[in-house]
Amino acid sequence: MIERLRGIVGDAGVRTGEAAARWAVHGVVPAAVVVPGSVEEAAAVLALASAEGWRVEPAGAGTWLGWGRAPGRVDLVLSTARLAGVEAYEPEDLTAVVGAGLTLGELEGRLTRHGQWLPLDPPRGGAGTVGAAVSLAEAGPLRLAHGTPRDHVLGLTLVTGDGRVLELGGRVVKNVAGFDLVKLVIGSRGTLGLVCRVAVRLRPLPERDTTLVVPAAGAQAAVDAAAAVRAARIEPAALELISPPAAELTGVAPGAWAVVVRLQGNAEAVADAEARVGQVVGGGVQALGADRAQELWAALGEREAEAALLARLADWPSALADTLTTALELPGAAVAWPLLAHAGSGIVRAAVSGDAYSDAAAETWAAALSSARARLEARGGTVLGARLPPAVVAAGLDPFGDPGPALRLMQGLRKEFDPAGILAAGRFVV
C-alpha cells in the first residue's frame, strides 16, 4: 500500500509511523497520512483507495479530526495540507480561489493588505483550513451578519470517493447554471469527497469594527439584554452571550455573565449603534480597544476549539431562555465550564473543558445530552455533538440526530459520490 501511494504522491507525500500517529482519529491510528501535491494526485489516490477498499479520512490541517463517531478502521488520512496556494485573487472582483489546505489565518493575511476579508470566524480561528470550514460548515459569532460557509462559497473542486474531479459552482458571485452541488458538499464532512479548491466571495473590511461588553447578573439578565439589542434593530455583526467561567475573559466580575456586541459599518452608523446599545441595556457598557477585542474573540473561539466535549443546542432565537435553561441542566454548566450562545441565531454551545470531563462520566453525559435533545427536538430544535469523546458516543449518543425520511435521499447521494463507501465511513449519514 505504502509503495503504491508513494508512486502517486512521492516520498514526501506519505507519512507513516510516528508521523501518522499524530493524525489519529478518535484514537484510531491510520496506516499512512497521504498529502497529495495536486488535485490530480488526490484523484489518483482516491481512485486507488476505492478500488482497494481502503478507508479514508479526509482532512486539512488535522485540527478537527475529532468530530462525529469514531471510525471502525482508518487506512489513510488524506490531507489537503499541500494544496494551500492562493490560485487567483482579484481584489477588484472581491473573489478569491484558494487551495483547500490554506489556513484561514494565511488567507486573512493576504486579504487584509487589500482592505478585504472573508467574514468567517469558526472556533479554530486562523489555524483551521478553508477546506475544513467548508466541509464542516463551521462558522462563528459573525454568522449573525455574514452567514455561514454556504453564504460565502461560490464554487469548489471536489474529488469524489472514486477519484472523479468535479468542478462545482463557479467563480462569479451569481450563478444558477445546473444544480447547486456546492451547497450539498458544504457541511458534508468529507463523506462526498475531498474538497481541494474553494472559490469564495469576499467583503470589504468595515470602516469601523467595535466590540462592546455588557455585564449581566445572571442568565436571565443576559437574555434580556440580548433581546433588547435585537428588538432595537441595532443589527450587530455578532451578539454573544457568555456564561461564567468564560465571561471572565471579557473583564466582567467573577460569577457574572456577559453579553458581547460586535458592531460593524461606517463610523457614523457604528457610533450611533453604540449609543443605542447603551440606551437599551441601561448602562455598564464597556467598549474594548481593537487589540483587546481581537484577543477576546480569539480566546472565546479557543474555549470552543479546546473543549473536550462540544455540543450545540439550537432553537429559535425567541426561545433562547428555554434553550439556555436546558443547557444549564447539563452537569457543571456555567460553573465548571462555560456556555457560549449566538444569541441572535439561537445556538448555545456547551464547551466542556478537559478538566471538567472524564470518561468515567460518559454515560451521564450521554444521558444528559439525549434528554436535552429530546426536549429541543420536541420544539423543532436540535442538539448536535460537534465534538464528542468516543466514550460518550459508545454510551449511546448519536452525534447528529435523525434527519427523518430525508435520510434515504442522503444515503443515495452518498453512494453517488462515494460508491465504494470508503470516505469517513460510519461517521456521518450512515
Partner: protein, 513 residues
C-alpha cells in the same frame, strides 16, 4: 440558444400522450382535487403552453390545480403510478422555458396554494405556500417592519415557489443575496409522491443541506409545497443615486471602481443609451437625458447615520470616472423615477422591435468594461441592435438583441451573435446564467461551463431524487448527457405559422430580470 426566428413547437403532444393520460386517470385526478381542479380543454390549456420565454411552446396534456401538500402528494403518486411526467408551475413568468410540459407532462399548477401560513416577526421567518406572489409576501412582512429580500423584476407576478425552483435573484441581491440565501426550510413532495421535510424550524441542519441543494433544481427534484424563508429588517434609510455618463466604458469602469473601493451598495444597476431612449419614449419617462451613453442607478441602504456620506463618496467615484452628472434622489417619487429606467426597460424595449432576445450571463466585475465592449463589437459585426440593461454590481449581464423574426437573414445573425456573446462571457471567467435558470433554452450551453464528469454527477444527483425522470423531464442537461434523458425530436413549425405567436420571442411580458 435556439433559432430565434421560430416559435418552437416541441414534441410531446398527440397520440402517444393521450394514451398515457387516459380518461380513468383524469377522473382519478378529479377525485383528488375536485372537478374544477383539472383542466383538459385544449383551449384552456393554451395558457399553459409556454412560460415567459414564449419562443417555445408545447401544450401540456392536462393541468392539475391541487390545494395543500396532501393533494399534491396524491396527484404526484397517481401520476407516478401511471408513469406520466409532471411539471410544477408557479406564475409562468420564467425566462428559460423551464415550465414547458415536455414528454406529455401534466402541469401541476401551484396557483391555488397561495396562503401565507405564518409570519414570525421575532424570529424573522415566514412560512408560505409556493403560489404566494413574491411582492405579496414583501407587503405582508412590511406590517412588521420586515421584508423578503429577493426581488426579481417580475416580483409583482412571480411566485415564491417559482423563485425557489430557479433560485431567483433581483437588483438587491447584490447586498442581500439570492433566493438560496433566504430559504431555510421546505416541505417537498418527491417524484414518487413521498413527502419529506427538509430543514426548517429553529434547529441546525441535520445531515446534508438538502434545502440548499433543492433551491435552483428547476422542478427536477419534486414539488416544494411549503417554503420557510428568512425575513430581513426594512432598512432605516435609503439613498439612491443616478449617474449619467457620456461613454459606456466610463460607466462600466465606475461600476468596477465602486466594487473595488469597498462600497457595498444595496443595488448597482446599469442602462445604456438604447435602453434610456426606449424608456424616455415610453410612459415611464423619468427625465433621463437621451443623449447619455449610459446611466447607473446606485442605491445604498441601512442605518441612517453615515448613509448620505457613503452615497456622496460613491458619487465622487462616479464623477472621477467621468460621470457628467450625478443626482441624488430627493424623495421616494424621484427614487422611483430613477428605478423606472431599470425596471420598465424590457417593456419599453419591446416597442422598438418586434422581437427581443435576452441573455443572463455573469462575468467577474473587473471584466465588465472589456466584456461590454465586446458585446457592442459583436452587435456591430453582425449588424444588430443591442440594448444593455443589467445588474452591473453582480456582473450579471442582460444583453438584449432587438430583431424581427420575419427577417430570416437577421435571425441567423442573432443566433450567431448571441452564441458569440455567451462564449465571450464564459471566456472572461463567467457563467451562462445568473438568475433565469437553464431550463429548456440554455441546455446546450451547459457544456461551456461544466465537464462531462460534473454534468454526469448532476444527473446522478437527479436520479437519487427522481430515478424515473418524471419531474420536469428534458430540462437543464444537454441532450446527450443524461442516460435517462431520451429527448423527443424537436419539431419546428414554419416561421409565422404559429397561431398567437407573440412578439416577444425570447422574452415574456416585460417582467424580465
Amino acid at each position: 440558444m435556439s433559432d430565434p426566428s421560430r416559435t418552437e413547437r416541441v414534441a410531446g403532444e398527440g397520440a402517444g400522450t393521450a394514451a398515457r393520460l387516459d380518461a380513468a386517470l383524469v377522473a382519478e385526478l378529479r377525485r383528488i382535487v375536485g372537478p374544477d381542479g383539472v383542466i383538459t380543454d385544449p383551449a384552456a390549456l393554451l395558457v399553459y403552453e409556454s412560460d415567459g420565454l414564449t419562443a417555445y411552446r408545447v401544450r401540456p396534456s392536462a393541468v392539475v390545480l391541487p390545494r395543500g401538500t396532501a393533494q399534491v402528494a396524491a396527484v404526484v403518486r397517481r401520476l407516478a403510478g401511471a408513469g406520466v411526467p409532471f411539471v410544477p408551475r408557479g406564475a409562468g413568468t420564467g425566462l428559460s422555458g423551464g415550465a414547458l410540459a415536455l414528454e406529455g407532462a401534466v402541469v401541476v399548477s401551484l396557483a391555488r396554494m397561495d396562503r401565507i401560513l405564518s409570519i414570525d416577526p421575532e424570529n424573522r421567518r415566514a412560512r408560505v405556500e409556493p403560489g404566494v406572489v413574491n411582492a405579496r409576501l414583501g407587503r405582508a412582512a412590511a406590517a412588521y417592519g420586515l421584508t423578503y429580500a429577493p426581488d426579481p423584476s417580475s416580483q409583482a407576478a412571480c411566485t415564491i415557489g417559482g423563485n425557489v425552483a430557479e433560485n431567483a435573484g433581483g437588483p438587491h441581491c447584490l447586498k442581500y443575496g439570492v433566493t438560496s440565501n433566504h430559504v431555510t426550510g421546505l416541505t417537498v413532495v418527491l417524484p414518487d409522491g413521498e413527502v419529506v421535510e427538509l430543514g426548517g424550524g429553529g434547529g441546525e441542519t441535520v445531515g446534508y443541506d438538502l434545502v440548499g441543494l433543492f433551491v435552483g433544481s428547476e422542478g427536477m427534484f419534486g414539488v416544494a409545497t411549503e417554503i420557510e424563508v428568512r425575513l430581513v429588517p426594512e432598512p432605516e434609510a435609503v439613498e439612491t443615486l443616478l449617474a449619467i455618463f457620456d461613454r459606456v466604458d466610463d460607466a462600466s469602469r465606475a461600476v468596477s471602481a465602486i466594487i473595488a473601493e469597498g462600497f457595498l451598495p444595496a443595488a448597482l444597476e446599469m442602462a445604456d443609451q438604447a435602453t434610456i431612449r426606449a424608456v424616455e419614449e415610453s410612459v415611464y419617462a423619468g427625465g433621463f437625458p437621451t443623449d447619455a451613453a449610459a446611466a447607473l442607478v446606485v442605491e445604498f441602504d441601512g442605518p441612517r447615520a453615515g448613509l448620505v456620506r457613503e452615497a456622496e463618496r460613491a458619487a465622487e467615484v462616479c464623477r472621477r470616472e467621468g460621470a457628467r452628472e450625478v443626482r441624488r434622489a430627493r424623495d421616494e417619487a424621484e427614487r422611483q423615477r430613477f428605478w423606472n429606467a431599470r425596471k420598465k426597460s424590457f417593456g419599453a424595449l419591446g416597442r422598438l422591435a418586434p422581437d427581443l432576445l435576452v441573455q443572463d450571463a455573469v462575468v467577474p466585475r473587473s471584466k465588465l468594461p472589456a466584456v461590454l465592449a465586446r458585446i457592442y463589437e459583436l452587435a456591430a459585426e453582425h449588424r444588430l441592435r443591442v440594448a444593455n440593461v443589467f445588474h452591473a454590481g453582480d456582473g450579471n449581464l442582460h444583453p438584449c438583441i432587438l430583431f424581427d423574426r420575419r427577417d430570416a437573414d437577421e435571425v441567423a445573425r442573432v443566433a450567431q451573435a448571441s452564441k458569440e456573446m455567451m462564449r465571450a462571457c464564459v471566456e472572461a471567467g463567467g457563467t451562462i446564467t445568473g438568475e433565469h435558470g437553464v431550463g429548456y433554452d440554455k441546455r446546450e450551453y451547459m457544456e461551456l461551463v461544466f465537464s462531462d464528469a460534473t454534468l454526469e454527477a448532476m444527473c446522478g444527483v437527479r436520479r437519487v431524487f427522481d430515478p424515473r425522470g418524471l419531474a420536469n423531464p428534458g430540462k437543464v442537461f444537454p441532450v446527450r448527457v443524461c442516460r435517462e434523458w431520451v429527448g423527443p425530436a424537436t419539431q419546428f413549425e414554419p416561421a409565422g405559422a404559429v397561431a398567437g405567436a407573440r412578439r416577444e420571442a425570447g422574452l415574456g411580458g416585460g417582467t424580465a430580470a
